[in-house]
Symmetry: C3
Subunit: 246 residues, 3 copies
């Protein structure tokens, strides 16, 4: 296996975001992509990450491979990648992942492949009554707005309106969005569900890899956030709802 990225940004940022939710995970490397599906330790959130082979300048793989790795260790190495470094991933015979960064000089890191008992995660099939598309920065601002009053937040949609709302013991916050040039809202029915602000704050870092985010939810049903750059990368999150009387 030898995979080379001329633009390490997508891998670097994604690993940094994912490692905030998951400690250890298994990458599946196939002809089409590098893929990761993992649950956070509390079983509240799922991360789905796909980096397409078309993002790579070199993508040489004989057969499908699974690579389980400690994401924090990988993140620390990824942080050392500068925007213009050529990043190469290889497997060495001793069961190590070799990460090579080539800029003015060559820096080589290797990381042990770990054993993961955990069985493969299945992506649940979900049907959502609401879909919203907004600039990533708008969702970021909204989550930070409501964060100052409460730990859980309601996502509410009806017709062409989408509201994020939170109630603290004494204070309230509410962010209202309407269909417009850069905001698309489709709500089949009125829908309302509550989610953890703590998890949302980790997920909105997806804004680092895509300028837009797709938001999907239904009443008292999981939320899905999807950050996507066409032909390159997809990072999405599924978050369990909080029951109304949290």
């Amino acid at each position: 296996m030898k995979l080379t990225l001329a633009e390490p940004k997508y891998l670097k940022e994604s690993i940094s975001i994912i490692s905030d939710l998951v400690n250890e995970a298994r990458f599946k490397v196939t002809k089409e992509s590098i893929e990761l599906v993992a649950m956070d330790p509390a079983n509240v959130a799922m991360v789905i990450f796909k980096l397409l082979s078309s993002t790579f300048t070199e993508y040489d793989i004989k057969k499908d491979v699974e690579i389980a790795i400690n994401l924090n260790n990988l993140k620390q190495i990824m942080r050392r990648a500068k925007p213009n470094d050529m990043l190469t991933l290889e497997l060495d015979p001793d069961n190590k992942l070799i990460i090579r960064l080539k800029g003015n000089n060559v820096r080589t890191f290797n990381l042990p492949i770990i054993e993961l008992d955990e069985k493969e995660q299945k992506i649940p099939e979900l049907k959502f009554s609401v879909s919203v598309k907004v600039p990533s920065a708008v969702l970021n601002e909204a989550v930070e707005d409501v964060d100052i009053v409460a730990e859980s937040v309601a996502f509410i949609a009806q017709d062409k309106e989408f509201t994020i709302s939170a109630e603290g013991d004494l204070s309230q916050a509410k962010v209202e969005m309407k269909e417009g040039d850069d905001i698309k809202i489709k709500a089949n029915d009125k829908a309302r569900a509550k989610y953890s602000v703590e998890y949302l704050k980790k997920m909105i870092s997806g804004s680092k890899i895509a300028d837009e985010v797709s938001i999907y939810f239904s009443t008292d049903y999981p939320l899905k956030l999807e950050y996507k750059t066409v032909d390159k990368v997809m990072l999405s999150f599924i978050l369990a709802p909080r029951v109304e009387n949290d």
Copy 2:
């Protein structure tokens, strides 16, 4: 009551500075201005804040109102205001202060009005023998200079000279200013008084709302710092002196 600011900066920065000194306070809203007079919990410093109605793009008030509020909570909301947001303050029937930020979308916060037992603070009548006007940045630098050697600092003036001086156990620091293009010094007599550096460090944040500061003091007498932007905002502080043998 409905008050709208097109430029939330003055309110935002002032609340942030005041909340460093005072936890809860009462705003008086009159035809002319929003005003706050409060003592810090240790009774060492007084804050006087006035935001003139001319700063507002909409200033609709039927009768004078008093609004007591937790300043930390208010500060957290104010922080969410971006420079070009329209900020609207309203009172709702349930005794809440409604703060609306309007940018690309509308964000609404509300905060409970609290009960404040504390009686109204009177601004003391003070006569000073020294008045100095300097760029705010100059006072900031001077306070930071003396901060490295001691916890209390002497303000000394004579004729056209103004000195800020501090003595630690072993080290000393002294900043000397002379009348000049951007420094005006008027000292009727030689004057000298000592003040707490810790309080001064909080007060000099007034530099965020005005480029100049007026400094008033007399021998062993309170200090007054005044930050003012004409027709808009005035933030001033009165600080009790430290006795010479501190």
Copy 3:
């Protein structure tokens, strides 16, 4: 004694770096330079600092002087120097070091001269088999690269190649440099020695005063790093090796 610097940067940055390694030290002021030679408290690293008289705009000294001082206190004062301040050093009759910063106004600090029992440090005579010259930024990056896997690092050179390599419990990192336009490598024999990353991280701050660094070492022998700006300043470090089975 009266010494004036129009450009306080070299003194300011050097003191900041040295104070990370040494708490108290003795400066020797001679006709040629201000010089400091000091060991860190653990006796693992030596600092040699020389600020040439040609750096000063005024360098008035009747006879050689020794000034022992607390470097942390000096650093705090130096931090207050702005890039264009005129910095003057004087000795007052009461055995204090007077530091005057002259910008728009005059700020005067004084610091007690301390007693240092410690005898004068001698610079050891060292012969190195390897000498390498690289841009300071390259050494900085390399030390930060290996820092993520281990606490000690091997410096290895052979012919025209210089490698910095580290092995953690599970991970490895290796930075390879080759002779090139801005990298000069001279290795008489193959050499390999290990050094503490913690100390190296403090020393590479020398990059603040020079764009290039000279690296000297031999097998299981001390390391010398030298940061130099011609006719102005020299800051060098000698670091004891770690035994191979650390």
